[in-house]
C-alpha cells in the first residue's frame, strides 16, 4: 500500500549531500533523503498521509505540542542545509504524493528556484522586534490637583495621562520607523511583518516593530552592532534580535512582494 504515504519537502538548494542529514530524524520519523533534478536538490522525508494528509492536518494543527514538534523538525532540516549552501525553505506542510511529483515540481519551477537562490546567496535573515511598554509609564507623573476639587482634578489628570500616552505612542512609533529605516539601509532587503499580539508573545509590552532583514554575510557584524546601538539609543524601547535565520521571509519564488507584504511600523 503506497497510497497512504506522502513526501514532505523541507527545502530546495542547488545541491545537498545526504550525509549532512545522517542521524537527523525527519518528520514522520524516517530519514531525510535528497532528490536531485536539473541542477536542484530537495530535502524530503516520507510521511504518513493518515497523519499529514489534507484531511488529517487541519485537526492536527490544533494540537500545539504536535505543531511545535513538526515545526522544530522542519526548521532543523532547513537550518542544516542552510549551514552548507543557499537554500529556499518550503512552507510548512508542503506534501507531495511521490518523489516523482517532487522532481516534476522542481523541474517546472526551476527558474523560480534559481532566482530565489540567487537572492539569498551569501545572505542571512535576521529578525528585529521592538517593544514598548505602552501607555502608562510617561503618564505616572501626575501633579497635585487637589486645590481644584477631586472631580476636576481627576479629569485634568486623566487628560494629562491620555496626552502623555498618545505622545509616547507617537514617539515610540517614530523611533521604530527610524530603527527599521536604519537597519534597512544595512540590508539587501527588508520586510515589515505583522507585530505579534501580546496574547502570543506572553508579555504585556506592545510590539511595535517586527522586522525581517536579509543581510549580506559580510555585513552581519555591522548589522548586529547596529541593532545593539539602536537598543542603547532608545532606552524606552526593548529591542530584540533573533537569528540568524534561514531566509524564510525572503525566499519567495513568486517575487519579492509575496505573502506577508508591507505593514507600517506601529500601525
Amino acid at each position: 500500500m503506497t497510497d497512504d504515504r506522502g513526501v514532505w519537502v523541507y527545502s530546495v538548494a542547488e545541491e545537498l549531500a545526504p550525509d549532512w542529514f545522517s542521524g537527523v530524524p525527519g518528520i514522520g520519523g524516517g530519514p531525510i533523503r535528497t532528490l536531485a533534478c536539473g541542477g536542484l536538490a530537495a530535502a524530503v522525508s516520507t510521511v504518513s498521509l493518515a497523519e499529514f494528509g489534507e484531511e488529517a492536518l487541519p485537526g492536527r494543527l490544533e494540537d500545539l505540542a504536535w505543531l511545535e514538534a513538526v515545526a522544530r523538525l522542519h526548521h532543523r532540516v532547513i537550518e542544516i542545509a542552510a549551514n552548507h549552501v543557499p537554500v529556499v525553505p518550503m512552507r510548512l506542510a508542503t506534501v507531495y504524493r511521490s518523489h516523482a511529483r517532487v522532481t516534476a515540481m522542481m523541474a517546472a519551477r526551476q527558474a523560480d528556484f534559481t532566482t530565489a537562490l540567487g537572492r539569498v546567496r551569501a545572505r542571512t535573515e535576521w529578525g528585529v522586534k521592538v517593544y514598548t511598554s505602552g501607555p502608562g509609564r510617561a503618564a505616572e507623573s501626575g501633579g497635585d490637583d487637589s486645590a481644584a476639587g477631586p472631580g476636576a482634578a481627576y479629569l485634568r489628570q486623566r487628560r494629562r495621562q491620555l496626552d502623555a500616552s498618545n505622545q509616547a505612542k507617537r514617539a515610540a512609533a517614530a523611533s521604530a520607523e527610524r530603527i527599521h529605516a536604519a537597519l534597512g539601509r544595512l540590508a539587501a532587503a527588508a520586510e515589515l511583518r505583522a507585530p505579534q499580539a501580546p496574547q502570543l508573545t506572553g508579555r504585556p509590552d506592545r510590539m511595535i516593530l517586527n522586522g525581517a532583514y536579509l543581510v549580506d554575510d559580510e555585513r552581519s557584524a555591522e548589522f548586529t552592532t547596529a541593532v545593539e546601538r539602536a537598543a542603547g539609543e532608545h532606552e524606552q524601547l526593548q529591542v530584540e534580535l533573533t537569528g540568524p535565520w534561514p531566509p524564510y521571509s525572503f525566499a519567495v519564488a513568486d517575487g519579492p512582494d509575496g505573502p506577508g507584504g508591507e505593514r507600517r511600523a506601529g500601525g
Partner: protein, 93 residues
Amino acid sequence: VSDVPADEGHGGAADRLPAARQQVPPGTGPPDVRYERIALIDLLDRLLAGGVVISGEVRLSIADVDLVSVSLRALISSVSSAMEHGGGRREGS
C-alpha cells in the same frame, strides 16, 4: 506512486519527536529557558508565513489563512491560560 520508500512507520510522529511537551509556552518560563531554544512564537511566525508556497495540483494544499488561524488559535489558547496564572497584564482595546 511506487517511489515512496516504505521504510517509515506510520505511528504518531509527535510521540517520537524530541521533547516538545516539555517546552513551556512562550513567556512563561524563566528567561534562560526562553533563550535556550528559539521561541516557538518566533519560529511559527516564520514557518507559517514564510517559505516558498508552491501552488499546484500536487500540493496537498491547506489554505494558508486557515493554517495561520488554526495554529494561532492553538497558541492563543495555550498562552492565555498560562497568562491567567502568571498574572500578565493586557492592554484594553
